[in-house]
Structure formats: C-alpha cells, structure tokens
C-alpha cells in the first residue's frame, strides 16, 4: 500500500502540523478498498493474518472498552486480547484513546467491531501510521519495492534459529506479496477513476487557444505569439500525428512569451504539459512529457510565467481560478525544500516561482521525509504557510516587479540555499562513506551550469538541467545504486569488478539510473577508476560510462569533471578492448562542442586516428585482426562524432586520417562503413583543404568502395552518407573521369531510391511516420541528384553522360525530386547535353527532359528561360537518327503544352519539320511524332499548315499499326487535325473512318473519345456540306 498511499492519496496538512487525508471522493474509495481488504484478510489468508507485525500500528480510536466482547480481557484501564505473540505481548491493546494492534486478524476484528465507524477507524489508522508497511514488515522488506523479493532475501540471517525463522520469513514474504498486490490493485483502480474524470477535448483546447490568439491580436501584452506546429487539422479536431493521437495527444503549440524562451507545449486529453521541443517534425524523444500536467493552457502559463499571470488577470475573460474538485491529477507530490505548505490565494504567483525553480533544478532527494505539494484547491482554505515565508516574499517581489534577468539572479540565490540544504542532508545520510574518496558528490553547480548554457550556443547545452518527472519518490534503483557506489568507493579491485558487473545489470539506458549514478557521486568514482592500472576495473567502468553517456546531462558532467582526459588517455592503452570501449565512450560524449574541443585539446584526434590502422578486408581475419577492426570501428565512430567541428576535421586530416579512412572503406561490414563514410563526408565537405581531401580519397581508391555501397539500399543511413560522399568527391574532375562507371551504379540506386521516396510519401500522406524517417531519403536524393549534376558538367565520356541523363530522368518522374533537380539547375545541364555531338547523348538528354518538363512546377517559364533552347530542339528534328527524333518529338509534345512555347516552336518552323518526318515506318518514332503533331495543332494555323505540308495522309496510315500506343497518339492527333475542314476531306479520302470506328471499340476511353471526336468532326463537315448544297 506504500505507493498508493504516498502518491495517490490526497494528503493535506492542518495548521497543527499533522497530516490528514482529505475528504475527497478518491480518498473515500481508496479507504473503502483498504477496508474491504482488511475485512476479508483474516478469512482469506489464515496464516498471514496471524503474522505479528514488527511494530504495532497505533492510533486514537473511537472504540471503547465496551465495544469489545469475548476473546478480550476487559479491565478498567483498557482492553487486552487473549491472543499473545511469542513473547507474551497482547496482539491488541487498548488504553483509551490509544489502540495498539499487531496482526491482521486483530485488525479485521476491529473493523468488524467498529460497524459504521469502521471507515473512520481506517482513516485515522492510516493518518497516524504514515508508513504502515514499515511497521508491519520491518525496514528490510518494506524498502524492497517488490522486485527482488524472494526467500533468499532473508538468507544471510543467522543460521541458528533455522526452522522457526524460515517459516516465519516465509509467511512474512507472502504477506509482503499480498500487500504489494493490494497496492497495485489500488493504484490501478484509482487510475481508472482518474482517467474517467479528466478529459480535455479538442474543442475546449481550440477555444482556449483562439482566446489567447485574440488577446495577442488585441496587443494586450500577454504573449508574443502562439501557434500550432501543424496547420493541418484532422476531422476530429486534432493536429497531432495519428500515432500520437493514440497516446492522447491533440496538438502541439509553440508559445513565445515575453519573459522567457519559447515554450513547447503538448495538449493532450489528460491535460496540458511541456514537451521536449516539438517544432515541426521531431524525433520521438520530443514528445516526452517535461512538466506536470496542467488542466488547461492558461493554468500552465500562469504557473510558469509571472508576466503572463500578471497580465492575464487584467483580462476580462474568465480565468478559471479554481479548478474543480475532480481535477485530482494535481496531486503530484514534489519532493520539497521544506516549504511545501499550501499557499493562500494571494500567494499564488509567488509560489509559481518556487515551482518553476523546483522543476529547473530539483535538488537531490536527500532524506526519507517527504512533503506534499498541495492541490491548488486547498488554497481556498486560506492556510498560511507557517515557515519559508521570508524566502517566498523575496522571490515574489522579484518575480513580479523586476525584470526577468534579475529574477534569475534571485532564483539562484535561493537555489543555492536549497542545494546546500540538500547536500547537507545528503552527506549526513551517507555519513562516513563520502569521506572515502577525494572528490565530492558530482553535480555541477547550477549557477555555473546556467551560465554555460547561455554562453554556448550549442545544440545540447541549451537544455537546462532537469529531473525526470518522477521526482516525487526516489526510485528503488536510486538507493541500490547509491549502495553500490558506496562499496565501489571502498572496494579493492575484486570487489570493484563485482560491483561494476552488478551495476551493469541496471537498465543503464534509463534516465533514472543514469542520473542516480551521477547524483550519488558515481561518475567521479568511475572516472577515477580509469586512472588506475587495473584493466578489468577500467573495462567495467567504461562499459558503464559508454552507456550512461547517452544522457546529455551525464555527458556534460563527464566533461565538467575532466573525465575526457582520462578516457582519451586510455586510447593509447595496449589493451584492445579498452581502446575500443574508450573510443565508443568518446563517440557518445563528443556530441557537443565543448566535449569535441576537449577531445582535440587532449590530442584525442591523433590517438583516435591511430586506432584506424587495421586490415579491414582480409577474407579470414585472425582473432587479433578482428579485434583490431573492432577498435578501428569504434575509433571511426568517435571520429565521426568529433568531425562535426571544423577544427577537428582539420585535425583528422593533419593526423593522416583520410587515407586510413579510405582504406577502411573496403571493409565488408556496414557497421564499420557507416561511421567511416560519415566521417569522410564531414571531412570532404567542409575541410579547408577541400580538394586535398577529395583527392586523397581518390588516391586511395576510396570512391570504388563508396560506390559499391550504393547497392546496399536497405541501410538508408549508409546510403545517405555514401551518396553524400560521392557527391562531395565528384567535385573533383579527376575522380569523375577515373570512375566513369559510377553513374551506372548511381542510376541504379537512384531508381531504387525513387521507389523509396514514393513509398515514404504514401506514409507521409497518412502522417504516421516521424519526420526523421522522411528526412532521410530526401537527404539521400539531394546527394544523388547533386552528384549527378556534377557528373553532367563533365562531357568527357559519352556513356557517362547517357547514364547521368537517364538518372536525372528517372529521378524527375517524382515531383519532389524535380524540385531538387530544379534547384540544382539540373534541367539546364541536361538541356545543354542536347548540343552534344553523340546521338546517344542527345536522345537520352531529350528523354530525360520529358519528365522534367512534365513535373516541373512552372515548366513553361523554365523552358523559356533557357536561351536558344527551343531552337536547339527544333533543329534536332533534322537528325537522321530515329531514336533522337523520337525523343525530340516526345520532348516537343511536352513543351507544346505551354502555348507561348508552342508559338516559339512554330516560329522556328516545327510544323514542316514534323510533317517531313511523317513518312517514317518506325513505330516508336510514329508514336511520339503523332503525339507531337497532336500537341502542336493547338496553335494558330498549325492544323492547316500540317494539312498543307501533307502530314495528314501518312498519319491515317499509322492507324493500321498494331502498336496501340501509336494508334492512341495518332487518334489524338487526327482528332486535333480534324478540326480543320480540309484535313477532314483528306482523312475521309484516305478512308480514315473505318479504322477509326474499329478503334472506337477499344477499351481505352481516351482512344474511344479521340476516335469518336474525329469521326464526329468529319461527319459534321459532311452534314454542313450537304446543307450547303441543299440551300445553295
């Protein structure tokens, strides 16, 4: 019952200082549950019910001696039960008004005796025995939190009293399990009730946001701005992605207040809370809850911003000052600074400051005592805080009247105090233990921390220190880890290794554990171990560090306490496992700038580069060589992290890293290739001596493996890195010339990628995929297209150009990619290839242009902007190569869709040239030719011109072709041409009607329509003719 009582029940403090259970529906149902549990206990669990409590539960009862009947000795002074424990003490003792009870069977009896008053008895009992578990089971079991309990818990106890003892413990353990189960049941039940009560709906949220927006519009100095992260609103009124809606999220907001940084807020159906910074598309971690849950937006803002609170109160809209009774989710107990008393209404704002403070730098939970954050509704009880007034007054002044900067200064004064308090109780708790090692418990001072984060505009250091939400009770892990660290400080190497191994069993990727290690001073010990000579201790320490350094705050602390120096030093160890682990840890830690700089300053880059020296691609590696390869992989990982800083790129190059990286490209292992290629890309892109790096890659035959990576389409991360690196490297002419075959591979992968992109797009339409996943292939595509563009500029090799143009064409079939191609001026490049003397190049370029023109956003304008482009195209109609002619016709058909361009084409004499081609017997050409003619008809007198040039008669013959594509485009062309009467006559003469009627029976609707249209035109003409004959 521990958890449900401490966390779910609603406690309040009376003026006399004792804590009471509130009269709330939730507490009521909690009590009822416990009551029925106790009532049934003695009948359901006979043995357990007789178990004697370690300490009696005692409380002021309303029962009197006369209430007791048989089984009890009733005297003047009180009542004693007949039943006694082993030492002859009565299991129940009443000396009014106090009652002492030592077993569940007696408890059950009391509950039965008390009749209607039984609920009251349970309430008082719980109020006066704040930790019943402790009393019932004793400190050993009560603190176990249920995980590791088994019979072996008690095994170390003396073996002398064996039998009795074992039996006794068995019962005790079973009792413990019963109680924990009960606890779980209670919590679940309460949760259910809670979730029924608390529900926000999208309309309410929307109304509130609209209201705030109006305030902003009226310029009432409430907030600077407020907006949604997504403009798209689902039919149900939510804006969160579907998969988040499943979690209850409704929408995300970015709010720009006057007095602090932007706020990122999640509105979910359970309430409103701060998130990890959802801007547009974010990684999953962004969705995590970073604050308490507030019932609505205004409450959240008011509690966070004095400025807002001050101004919003001036507003005329009704601020729901008092949350209704049911909003019981407020009862989040917060470990306090000794001032968790309920504030009065007038002090609401002041208290906000404290709250904010607490959330920013919650001091470590020191002792066992807890204070409970009051439910806001209690403020209407008008209770004044008995202590801590002075501090509050001070902060209230600053928060309301002074500028935000000053507020912060004040806050730190306050924070420092609380911290001192916390430290004090911490050290007193640890007692003698902390004196063992030289360094004091970890955490950087908040003040220093804050100044850092503001001075360093680094991606990670912006984040202020915070605790996970569960700062109410420190989790069991915390105490276990604290114990381990205590032993770690005083253990020899054998003990150290054992403890490190035990520590590895914790979930080190979990923030609770990570921060627990830091908070109990574990990081210093772990780092200290790195400076010893004990290889095993170092390995153990690094195995832990490499995991917990996944946490931003841990990374920062490691750097703060100078841990990187020790880690970097290990890179030179002769022990391979150590080197690999150290490098892996660096890869994690060096994810922010200060750390990367530190690595460089301790000449870590040089050492990391040295790790790369291995034989990556032998068929049969010896165990030793395999380990070398693993070391190299870790080294590459670390370098990858480090290479995000420009100076480090330089350092990597200077240390001779590029050739080594180039060599590693031959490795067959993807987990090696990803960091290697990643580092290469970083270095190739921004190194000062750009060209040098690129040439180095080339010299060490780095491109070849890079390109072969393109086959590995399954790994998008790798693909993105590889294509990027190829692009960067292809900026050097020599590379391209040497590896002319590259484009083939690029083409192939580009086509595959295109498929991926479409695939991803479908998912995006559903808004079910997170931004990250979508970003990746796009990045890949940009790289691919970029690389292609580079290749296209070099006209040295015909085959290369053909492939490049094909690739661009393939990419261009996707509209998104077309945007990229357009940005990179790809169309101009391809167009310029039309000037190439090779027919292959000409045709492939023309083919590539077709999808480009089709999918470009403003195709007409784009084509017009290419000076002399249209003339070039028209002139190519004079080619003798059918493939070129077909491709040019196809391109013309696309261009002619734009009327202005069609006019220009006409001026350049496209009509006679096309007409001249009509005698061809090549079906492929016929198809595109007819298409081109059809599209060119739509301008001015072109229809007549085609007729005059004798294009109609041959086209009629095309209908006899067996190729349906030819038939289709011909029918379309004939339909266009039939709008000219003379053409109709020619067609009719050539016997067009019969094949057209056959075509009408086709399944293709377009074809049917075109054929029918054509026949109609001919028929209309005939009718007109007959009418003319009749009337004239």
């Amino acid at each position: 019952m521990g958890v449900s009582l401490t966390r779910a029940a609603q406690w309040t403090t009376t003026s006399s200082g004792t804590e009471k259970l509130e009269f709330t529906p939730m507490n009521e149902s909690l009590l009822k549950e416990i009551l029925s549990f106790v009532e049934q206990f003695s009948s359901q669990h006979l043995q357990e019910a007789e178990h004697v409590f370690e300490e009696p539960l005692q409380w002021n009862t309303t029962l009197v001696a006369s209430d007791f009947k048989t089984d009890y000795d009733i005297s003047d002074t009180g009542v004693q039960s007949h039943k006694k424990d082993g030492e002859g003490n009565a299991l129940l003792q009443l000396s009014p008004p106090l009652i002492y009870v030592r077993s569940f069977s007696q408890l059950s009896k009391i509950v039965n005796l008390a009749n209607e008053k039984n609920l009251e008895e349970v309430r008082v009992c719980l109020e006066e025995n704040r930790d019943p578990l402790l009393k019932i089971l004793g400190p050993n079991l009560a603190n176990m939190k249920g995980e590791h309990i088994g019979t072996d818990v008690l095994c170390l106890e003396d073996k002398g009293k064996e039998k009795d003892r074992v039996k006794h413990s068995d019962v005790k353990v079973r009792l413990f399990h019963l109680l924990t189960n009960m606890d779980k049941k209670l919590i679940n039940k309460l949760l259910e009730e809670l979730s029924e009560q608390v529900q926000l709906d999208p309309t309410a949220v929307k109304n509130e946001i609209d209201m705030l927006k109006q305030c902003i519009e009226r310029d009432e100095k409430v907030l600077k701005s407020i907006h949604y992260t997504s403009e798209y609103e689902f039919p149900n009124g939510c804006r969160a992605p579907l998969w988040r809606q499943a979690h209850g999220d409704m929408c995300y907001l970015v709010i720009e207040p006057y007095d602090t940084e932007n706020l990122y807020i999640t509105c979910s159906n359970t309430g409103v809370f701060l998130n990890g910074g959802i801007k547009q598309m974010v990684e999953e971690s962004g969705y995590k809850q970073k604050s308490e849950v507030y019932k609505d937006l205004v409450t959240l803002l008011k509690s966070r911003f004095p400025h807002f609170a001050e101004n919003i109160n001036k507003q005329d809209f009704a601020v729901k000052e008092l949350p209704s009774i049911e909003k019981s989710h407020y009862v989040e107990s917060v470990d306090g600074n000794g001032e968790g008393e309920p504030p009065s209404i007038s002090e609401r704002q002041e208290n906000n400051v404290d709250e904010k403070l607490r959330q920013k730098h919650t001091p470590i939970k020191a002792g066992g005592e807890k204070k409970y954050e009051p439910c806001p509704r209690w403020k209407n009880l008008g209770l004044m805080p008995p202590c801590g007034m002075a501090e509050k007054k001070k902060s209230s002044k600053s928060s309301v009247e002074k500028t935000s900067g000053e507020v912060q200064n004040k806050k730190f004064g306050l924070e420092a105090k609380t911290k001192m308090k916390a430290d004090f109780s911490m050290s007193s708790l640890q007692g003698h233990v902390s004196s063992q090692k030289t360094k004091t418990p970890a955490r950087p001072m908040p003040l220093e921390l804050f100044s850092e984060s503001s001075s360093e505009s680094d991606e990670e250091e912006e984040q202020a220190e915070r605790r996970p939400e569960t700062n109410t009770d420190l989790p069991a892990e915390y105490w276990q880890i604290q114990k381990l660290v205590k032993y770690l400080k005083g253990g020899d190497q054998t003990a150290t290794v054992l403890i490190l191994c035990a520590m590895m069993d914790f979930n080190l990727m979990q923030e609770t554990c990570q921060l627990a290690i830091r908070d109990v001073g574990g990081l210093e010990v772990l780092i200290n171990l790195l400076d010893t000579d004990e290889v095993k201790c170092k390995i153990g320490s690094l195995k832990i560090l490499r995991k917990i350094s996944d946490n931003v705050q841990i990374r920062r602390t490691i750097v703060d306490i100078g841990g990187l120096q020790s880690i970097v030093k290990i890179l030179e160890s002769p022990h391979k496992d150590l080197k690999a682990l150290a490098a892996e840890t660096i890869a994690n830690v060096a994810r922010f700038r200060r750390a990367r700089r530190a690595v460089r300053q301790y000449s870590g880059i040089k050492k990391l580069v040295k790790l790369l020296d291995c034989v990556p691609n032998l068929a049969n590696l010896t165990t030793n060589q395999e380990r070398d390869a693993d070391v190299a992989r870790c080294g590459a990982l670390a370098l990858w992290s480090c290479s995000k800083s420009t100076k480090n790129k330089e350092a990597i190059r200077k240390a001779g890293g590029i050739p080594l990286l180039g060599r590693l490209l031959k490795s067959p292992h993807e987990n090696m290739l990803i960091p290697v290629v990643g580092t290469l890309q970083e270095c190739a892109s921004e190194c000062a001596e750009d060209k040098q790096t690129r040439d180095l890659v080339c010299k060490y035959k780095g491109l070849q493996p890079l390109v072969s990576l393109l086959g590995k389409v399954n790994n998008k991360q790798l693909l993105a890195a590889a294509t990027g690196a190829i692009w960067k490297c292809s900026i050097s002419m020599e590379n391209v010339a040497k590896y002319y075959w590259i484009p083939k591979r690029v083409t192939r992968s580009a086509v595959t990628l295109k498929g991926e992109a479409i695939w991803f797009q479908e998912y995006r339409a559903l808004e079910t995929l997170v931004g990250l996943l979508i970003d990746e292939p796009e990045e890949v595509l940009v790289n691919v297209v970029g690389a292609l563009g580079e290749f296209a500029q070099i006209s040295a090799n015909k085959a290369l150009l053909v492939n490049v143009t094909k690739a661009v064409g393939a990419c261009a079939t996707d509209k998104e990619n077309m945007v990229i191609i357009d940005q990179l001026d790809g169309v101009r490049l391809v167009w310029s290839l039309l000037k190439n003397s090779s027919a292959d190049v000409q045709s492939s370029a023309a083919w590539a242009l077709c999808p480009c023109i089709k999918n470009a956003k403003d195709a007409g304008e784009m084509v017009r902007s290419l000076v002399g482009g249209l003339e070039l195209i028209v002139n190519l109609l004079k080619s003798t190569n059918n493939e070129v002619l077909a491709s040019i016709c196809a391109a013309i058909a696309k261009i002619a869709k734009d009327k202005e361009n069609l006019a220009v084409l006409t001026d350049h004499g496209v009509v006679p040239l096309l007409a001249k081609l009509t005698n061809t017997s090549d079906d492929r050409l016929r198809c595109h030719l007819a298409e081109a003619i059809g599209h060119c008809c739509t301008w001015g007198g072109n229809r007549t011109s085609f007729g005059d040039a004798g294009a109609v008669a041959p086209l009629v013959h095309y209908l006899k072709s067996k190729d349906s594509a030819v038939q289709q485009s011909t029918a379309m062309a004939l339909y266009q041409l039939s709008k000219d009467p003379n053409n109709c006559i020619t067609m009719h003469e050539k016997g067009v009607v019969k094949p057209l009627i056959q075509i009408m029976s086709s399944n293709d609707e377009m074809l049917q329509e075109a054929a029918a249209g054509c026949v109609r035109n001919i028929r209309l003409l005939a009718t007109a003719n007959r009418k003319a004959r009749l009337f004239h």
Binding site: G490, G491, T494, A495, L498
Partner: protein
Amino acid sequence: MSTLSLWKAQRYRPVRLSLKMSAMNRKLIQTLAESISKDVEHFNKTEIECLIREFNVLMREPAAVGRTVNGLDRGKFRTILHNNFGMTDDIIMDGVFRTFDKDTDSFVNMKEWIEGLSIFLRGTLDEKIKYCFHVYDLNNDNYISREEMFHMLKNSLVRQPTDEDPDEGIKDLVEITLKKMDHDHDGRLSFADFEKAVREENLLLEAFGTCIPDTTSIEAFERNIFQEKLDQ
C-alpha cells in the same frame, strides 16, 4: 612414464655434475619434452624444454634441508607466484597451488607445472573458466558456497570503523554477487552458474580474486624463460 622416471633418476644427481652432463641432459630433456608435449596444449616442444629447464633451476634452489622432494612445495610455488606474477592474496595463491597440484600430493611436479602453466599463461576462455572455478572452490566440493565467497572477499572492502557490523558490506557484496551469478537460485555457485555468468560478462572470470596473471607479467615471464633460454 618411462621417460619420466628416467628423468627423475637424473634429477637427483648432484648439482655440480650437471654441467658435465649437459650433453646427456639435453638428450634427456628432449625426450621428456617430446612425451609431455603430447598431453599439453599451447606449448611447442622447444617451449616445453625451456619450461623443464626452468623447473630444474627452481628445484635446485634450496628446499627444506635434508629432504628429497618430487616437486615444488607450497612455499616455493607461492614465492614464484608472488615474484613473477605479483600475486599477494594467500587464499588465492593456495587455490592456484591446489589447482596446479592435480594429484593432491602437496607438490607440483614437473608435469603438473607444465600443464598448469599452459592454462595459466595461454589458456582459452573455456580452460580459464574451469581453472578459476577450481581455484575458488576452496573445499573442492564443486560448489562455491556463500562462506567461500565471504572468505575470499573478506578483505575486499575498506571497513568502516563506524559500521555496527563490520562484515555487513562483505555480506552485501556476497548477496550482490549471488544475485548476479547464482542462476539456479540454490544459494551457491555451481560450475554451470559460474560458466554462464562468465560467458555473459567476461569480467566475472576472476570474480573472487586475481588468479590469472595480466598480459604484462605473462609477457615478461615468457620472454624470460623462452627467449633468453633459446639464446643460450
């Protein structure tokens, strides 16, 4: 075995004769090495010859006066462990001696010496797991019990003078270790428990005390015995 007894006969010759007899000695040692190398992995014949010579040298050093012994006694063996491999823990050194001394005659004879060293210096993980388990199984009952762990770990934590029960930390450490390694929850470590735990986390190989030398001292020892001897 016949070669071995041959060698034994030779071994008891007075030291001063050994130089004169070196030619014959060499021959004997070679035959001996030949036979031992069939049973011992990780060493080639030349290396075994070197180890035999080293053993002879160690045997020549004064033992307890007036006694003929057929191997290294506990004291001598511990001196070797201490001087060459920096071992200090008595319990562990006794354990190593017990593990070397397969026939439990309280002496490490030449064959035991070479076989032991083959694991001690160059053993595979499998061999080392067996070896370490044997070292830690103080009473040879094929289990490492709570008491044995406690015994081996009793000096591994700094005792707090303020602690009510100075052994509390050690007891706790034993429980932590059992929780980690005792997979069948019978309150003691069987070989299967130990092996499984070590395979999961290699660091646990020497869980209860260093009984395998580190790389540096192995290298030094091997260099000392193999190379210098070969140079002679």
